[in-house]
Symmetry: C2
Subunit: 474 residues, 2 copies
């Protein structure tokens, strides 16, 4: 039906179908989300689309704003303001930061433009109608992106530190570089204070570099609070909706997703995703990690036990079939699990098929084929009925967020031993913000930002991280 095709109204009709098959076909593969976007979010997206259409690349306002950037300081306010997202870090991180940047753009009436980097165009369709979201190649600052750092003259935090940010509009620079990378310092973190937001709102170009899902801290900025609670009354589905709105796999990647699903997963009665991301040194497979996967899935009854003494018990009826989709850089865990369920029957009589699309051995952020597979695998994981993810991994956050499910999180192993318990159910499907600020902008002192409001909590997998929860769920 039309309602699924447009994902509960998040999408609009009218895009060319052939150039982005996934946009209107995702509903053929994914169940309808039980999480409905608010009417206000939908109207805001339509407003944003209009803004993007009016101010996007090579429109008159865009050309004027670029012109002002070329000429130097910001003499007058431009008609349109922009936030430019810099391509940075692994693919999971990128997807989360791009969603964060988009939400920030919506909250601040800015146009989001995307540094195409090596492969953004290869991985994703255009999300907005008519005008591209990709930053044109002739954008003046493009060559300097790779040099931007915490001490760049136009770095917001650095200018605050060195007291060089003059508040008079005439003296404001035409662009500021926002350094929101995990190593950012207290001055960079002042981005999350209202006072700074007021100043930033007067700068036409913000160039953002981040590897963090900073949305939870936006919920702690008073000037955004009201708008955010209108947009997301449930609070725990920000990435779920924005992710489904923004990230449509390119036709190449959609081919990987649909072919894999049709060939290996479609006939299962239940699909179980297990995302294994190991941060140990050395290549593995590690026994303590394998034990952890088994301990979690058995104890939580995600997978049935095996009967090591038992024989085949062929029944005349078709047995219930669970497919396990594993993802991991190595093949070791997949092979062990697959062999286990091949060599022994389950205690429940269920048949367990174990699959893993790729085992690329190591992270190869610069290779197109590698990143296509990574994106396809995140998407495939998001199609699971039950999901097990690894602590600390943005790869898993993307899967859970797009899928709209609360995963079981495998705790991070310490000292090469299996954590006990091995995993726990997540409080919400939201990603965790790994490097949040702990600062009270009004009181100008450190505070625990994980206890300020009920819907911003510390994460299950990282005690200092912050994540959004629907607090009635707790």
């Amino acid at each position: 039906s039309n309602r699924d095709k447009l994902i509960g109204g998040l999408l609009i009709p009218g895009f060319d179908e052939g150039s982005c098959l996934s946009r209107y076909q995702s509903s053929l593969y994914r169940r309808i989300s039980t999480h409905r976007p608010s009417p206000y979010l939908i109207s805001k997206l339509r407003e944003y689309e209009a803004l993007h259409r009016r101010c996007g690349p090579h429109t008159k306002p865009y050309d004027e704003a670029v012109e002002q950037l070329r000429s130097g300081s910001s003499v007058s306010l431009t008609e349109c303001k922009y936030v430019v997202w810099m391509s940075y870090s692994g693919l999971g991180n990128k997807i989360l930061t791009l969603a964060s940047a988009f939400l920030y753009a919506v909250l601040t009436d800015r146009v989001l433009l995307v540094d195409p980097g090596k492969d953004m165009a290869d991985l994703f369709c255009e999300p907005f109608p008519e005008k591209t979201w990709l930053l044109p190649n002739d954008f003046p600052l493009m060559d300097q992106f790779s040099n931007f750092n915490q001490k760049s003259p136009n770095c917001h935090g650095y200018m605050l530190k060195t007291n060089t940010l003059n508040e008079s509009t005439e003296a404001l620079p035409s662009y500021l570089y926002l350094h929101l990378v995990h190593d950012y310092d207290d001055h960079d973190k002042l981005f999350f204070c209202d006072q700074e937001q007021a100043l930033l709102s007067r700068v036409p170009w913000l160039i953002l570099k981040t590897d963090n899902y900073f949305v939870p801290s936006l919920f702690l900025i008073p000037s955004f609070e009201h708008e955010l609670s209108n947009l997301f009354p449930q609070k725990d589905n920000v990435f779920h909706h924005l992710g489904r709105y923004l990230f449509h796999p390119s036709n190449h990647v959609w081919g990987l997703i649909t072919r894999y699903y049709d060939a290996y997963l479609s006939s299962a009665d239940e699909l179980i995703g297990i995302q294994v991301r190991v941060f140990e040194i050395g290549s593995g497979p590690f026994e303590h990690i394998m034990d952890q996967i088994l301990s979690c899935t058995l104890q939580e009854k995600i997978l049935p036990g095996v009967d090591k003494e038992g024989f085949s018990s062929v029944s005349l009826e078709r047995p219930r079939m669970k497919a396990v989709l594993m993802t991991s850089l190595s093949s070791g865990y997949y092979e062990k699990l697959r062999t286990l369920y091949w060599e022994y029957p389950t205690t429940t009589g269920e048949v367990i098929a174990v699959h893993q699309p790729s085992y690329e051995m190591y992270q190869q952020t610069e290779k197109k084929a590698h990143n296509r597979k990574a994106w396809a695998e995140m998407y495939l994981l998001s199609m699971s009925d039950l999901l097990v993810t690894s602590a600390w991994s943005t790869f898993g956050y993307v899967a859970q967020g797009l899928g709209g499910s609360k995963p079981w999180i495998l705790y991070k192993a310490e000292n090469m031993s299996t954590p006990n318990p091995a995993c726990r159910r997540a409080m919400s499907m939201e990603p965790c913000f790994h490097a949040p600020p702990f600062y009270d902008c009004k009181a100008k002192k450190g505070i625990d930002t994980g206890v300020v409001v009920p819907h911003v909590r510390h994460c299950e997998d990282m005690s200092w991280g912050l994540k959004l929860v629907h607090h009635q769920d707790l």
Copy 2:
């Protein structure tokens, strides 16, 4: 129906089902064979079963015959005569030689007894009712098996060579060792002459060691000719029927077979088996072998081509799904094929899933778990709708024979390059006898035994080998 359960009458009812689930369940997994056993074969099998019941281990005749063996020379003819099959060579070879030994037993009214070796009991059910086919552990010659060779005093060929075989019944030994291993010499090969068969028929115990499917040469022995054409009027399904009659996977192995089938293969519209056995030195994967697999399967339209320029073409109807079951000691070919059909769509719109149950890296004939998997994989291959096998491999012969299909044979690669053509369709489903004799027993001179009768031909994959064909098929 009962008719399938008993495989066209090859089997009898009444066995305990639980101790050998595969015996009566194979029809749930395999299509009914289009090749019907002759009524005469069926009646002969019933006769053999009666003989085995009467003469099998620990019956009175058996004890008497063993007693005579202990006492030395054969003073009188025993009530029952035996052929003892020695456990030797790889599993594929074993299965073929065991079938050959059984046919020889049927033709010569002998009882077949099987050296259990390391794992015959672990791999196979008992094929005969009531009495085991396994040679009891206290069989007098058991300890000497490993020392039997071409120069053993009781070796048939050696006695002929040294002129020590006295034809008077009183002087005949109570046992002879038959050395039918690939390195056998002209004297050993006299086994295939009528004159020697007459002598052998008076020896109560024949101990047989072979790694060859010697059935084709039995068809060239005049005294067996008539009986064989009554048993197998079609001539090309000897192993097909005897294999299905004899080889029932043990419950352990049946578990491996059924679980794998249910989990990975059952939902496919068509099952394509590809057995890759590489005899090159070094571990591979080799590019010329991969090219050969692709060239054969594409040219013979066993698998569809891929469209390297094309995108996903998701159709609303469920696409036709072909599952490829590969077997190989290495995982390289499987991974390449799987990746190919993941990365690109097929030109036909079909979905291709590629599976390989194990990749054990090297042959491990002594390990139980290894041999169970090898047996499970031969059986799974035999369930394919279309089968591609590797030249020279008995592993493939077993699969094609049990399956009852004429495979495409991948020619043996020479000089590390891809053969052209890459493969050809087999003339029959019969295995190839790799080391046949080239001797005319009457004329006492060498001849080409591949041109004597129309139903014994040289093999497709080995120019000097012999195989049975149904000559009206040619």
